[in-house]
């Protein structure tokens, strides 16, 4: 399914060349103009970018179709009431502290709006933490390793 899948299922590549070629140059990009290669861009198009985002929306809150692979947010639940701490925790572990000021500010505003306190119910905390992860995982700042 294209609408909420990653298109990278293990062992299900479309050819003997696995999912992308080392020599791939994405046409009509500044990458091509610069004469560079970007192998992973062979997987990037209008369908896969949307499918990935839809997949992560479900994955971050409910795991993989409520199957065995589920995020538990164990460590984050302990600091869910502290939005800057949550952002710092994720920024370090997901992007090696490379999120931009713009993205950090969007996260601060969006996550604060959940009004999570130490005594909030688990569902509210999980909603907030899943949203935090979701927004970061969808950001090109996370997707492109630097």
């Amino acid at each position: 399914r294209s609408d909420d899948s990653l298109g990278q299922s293990p062992l299900r590549s479309p050819s003997v060349f696995n999912f992308y070629r080392p020599g791939y140059v994405p046409p009509n990009t500044a990458i091509a103009t610069a004469g560079k290669q970007a192998p992973e861009f062979q997987l990037l198009n209008e369908t896969t970018t949307a499918g990935y985002i839809n997949f992560m929306q479900g994955m971050t809150r409910n795991g993989y179709y409520n199957f065995d692979v589920n995020p538990t947010y164990t460590a984050l639940l302990l600091i869910a009431h502290d939005v800057p701490a949550v952002i710092a925790w994720l920024n370090l572990r997901l992007t090696a502290n490379q999120l931009s000021a713009n993205t950090l500010s969007v996260l601060q505003a969006t996550l604060s709006a959940f009004n999570v306190t130490a005594s909030s119910g688990a569902n509210l905390k999980l909603d907030m933490l899943a949203t935090a992860c979701f927004l970061i995982l969808c950001s090109p700042e996370y997707l492109v390793q630097k």
């Binding site: 294209s2 609408d3 970018t49 985002i53 927004l135």
Partner: protein
């Protein structure tokens, strides 16, 4: 039949031609001529569809020698069993009776060859009988017409060959984009560059892949728009209170080129989703176009529905790309190739029927392509990488029911093959593509900008469409 592209370029040419008639020419005539050229004409639509068979389709079990003499040669080389029975990687002759091709014209073929299609291609046989499927024999990449002696020569300056022959990824790129892997401009995309100005509303939808990324549909300005068989994919979270936060994160520009290019694709996905899905909502759902278990059918069905939406989208010229993988049949050829042929048959037949239902059969031309053909001889249970291959051209405008090009001898020794029955092409991809480009609306002067080596070939209109 003149099928010129009604672009600004043509309008200006026409205006200049009228201008030289002198000042006595009434302005009204000029205006009428210009408005006729520039007006959107719903009936003047054309779509070119590339069906790429990834892996290198085995030509010898697709278009199969059928007359007794040549069948026996095929049967011997491919390891058939006694009495013209199936064996090795050869079909039994009786299996081919139902799909034996009777041409409605065209030249007598080499060695008086008669052919049958693979047994699974019954639907294509019907379209051949209706005169709407043509077979292009022995077509492949060439820099210039090439003899065996030239192929074997060590003088590559005088006798240039396409780069990296027999390499999957490079030949896929050579077929699609006249260059090895890493090429960024395909000839379908070049057609899109020329056609874009005809698509006044959504020029972004000029070149579309319903498969994975394909350089075929990338031009210098025209770029690939990719769509899934289910249509454009909506980002669900953009319909929630999270919309503004998410949107700002996934679409923002960046000074990092990879981040920036990633966001550009996401912006395009978001911008076009409503337009495309909105247009698709109103068109024939084509419920009789069955796609179960056939990813090629799924792709061609969304192509058909996009073609049905052409008026809503304001499209007049489009180039589409679909594909099927799995053709690299080094092993288990007789187990796997029939399944591939069934998928190709079912998908192509259903697509042709859909274009007929939609009333656009003569506005849509589909052609097949592949990395290369394969060996004629067997490696025990399969065939290996080759070069020239036989391909199909299908559509209501096709002069079908006959063969084009030169039939190869059924041999692993004649000078029209480079060993093991790997065909030395006698028709170039340039000539094949030029013929399709002309149908699409290009004139002779535009061909070199689409196909850099086309001047090396004399026959740039093979006549199949």
């Amino acid at each position: 039949m003149s099928n010129e592209l009604w672009t600004r370029r043509v309008v200006l040419q026409r205006a200049m031609q009228l201008g030289v008639m002198g000042v006595a020419t009434p302005l009204a005539i000029n205006l009428a001529a210009i408005s006729e050229a520039a007006a959107f004409d719903n009936t003047d639509y054309k779509a070119l569809v590339c069906l790429f068979m990834y892996g290198g389709n085995d030509y010898a079990n697709t278009v199969i020698p059928y007359d007794n003499t040549n069948y026996n040669l095929y049967h011997a080389i491919r390891g058939g069993a006694a009495g013209q029975m199936a064996g090795g990687i050869a079909y039994g002759r009786a299996q081919l009776a139902a799909t034996a091709l009777v041409p409605n014209g065209g030249p007598v073929l080499t060695d008086n060859l008669q052919y049958a299609l693979a047994p699974q291609l019954a639907g294509l046989k019907s379209i051949w009988d209706a005169g709407r499927l043509a077979v292009q024999l022995n077509v492949g990449p060439l820099i210039q017409p090439t003899t065996l002696a030239q192929y074997q020569s060590t003088n590559r300056v005088q006798n240039p060959l396409p780069p990296k022959l027999f390499s999957h990824n490079d030949q896929q790129s050579v077929w699609q984009a006249n260059g090895t892997e890493g090429s960024t401009v395909g000839w379908g995309g070049r057609l899109g560059d020329i056609a874009m100005s005809s698509n006044t509303n959504n020029s972004l939808l000029t070149c579309i892949s319903a498969s994975g990324n394909a350089v075929f549909v990338a031009g210098r300005e025209a770029l690939q728009y990719q769509i899934s068989p289910a249509g454009a994919i909506r980002i669900a979270a953009l319909n929630t209170p999270l919309r503004d936060a998410l949107s700002s994160i996934i679409t923002r520009q960046s000074t990092h080129v990879l981040e920036n290019e990633y966001a550009i694709v996401t912006r395009r996905s978001i911008d076009m989703e409503g337009v495309v899905n909105g247009a698709l909502t109103g068109v024939d759902p084509l419920t009789s176009f069955v796609t179960t278990g056939n990813p090629l059918s799924s792709q061609l069905k969304i192509v058909a529905r996009l073609i049905a939406a052409r008026a809503t989208l304001g499209m007049r010229r489009q180039v589409f790309f679909v594909s099927l993988g799995g053709f690299d049949n080094h092993n288990l050829l007789m187990q796997d190739h029939p399944n591939l042929m069934t998928r190709v048959n079912d998908a192509m037949s259903a697509f042709y029927a859909a274009t007929s239902t939609l009333g656009v059969a003569d506005k849509v031309t589909l052609f097949t392509a592949s990395d290369f053909g394969r060996t004629l001889s067997s490696n025990a249970d399969g065939s290996d990488h080759g070069w020239g291959s036989h391909h199909f051209v299908m559509g209501g405008a096709v002069n079908g029911g006959r063969f084009y090009g030169t039939a190869p001898h059924v041999s692993i020794q004649t000078p029209d093959q480079v060993g093991q029955g790997r065909l030395l092409p006698t028709t170039s991809v340039d000539e094949f593509a030029a013929t399709l480009a002309r149908w699409f609306g290009c004139n002779t002067g535009e061909l070199p900008g689409i196909l850099p080596n086309v001047a090396n070939f004399t026959n740039t209109n093979l006549g199949f469409v």
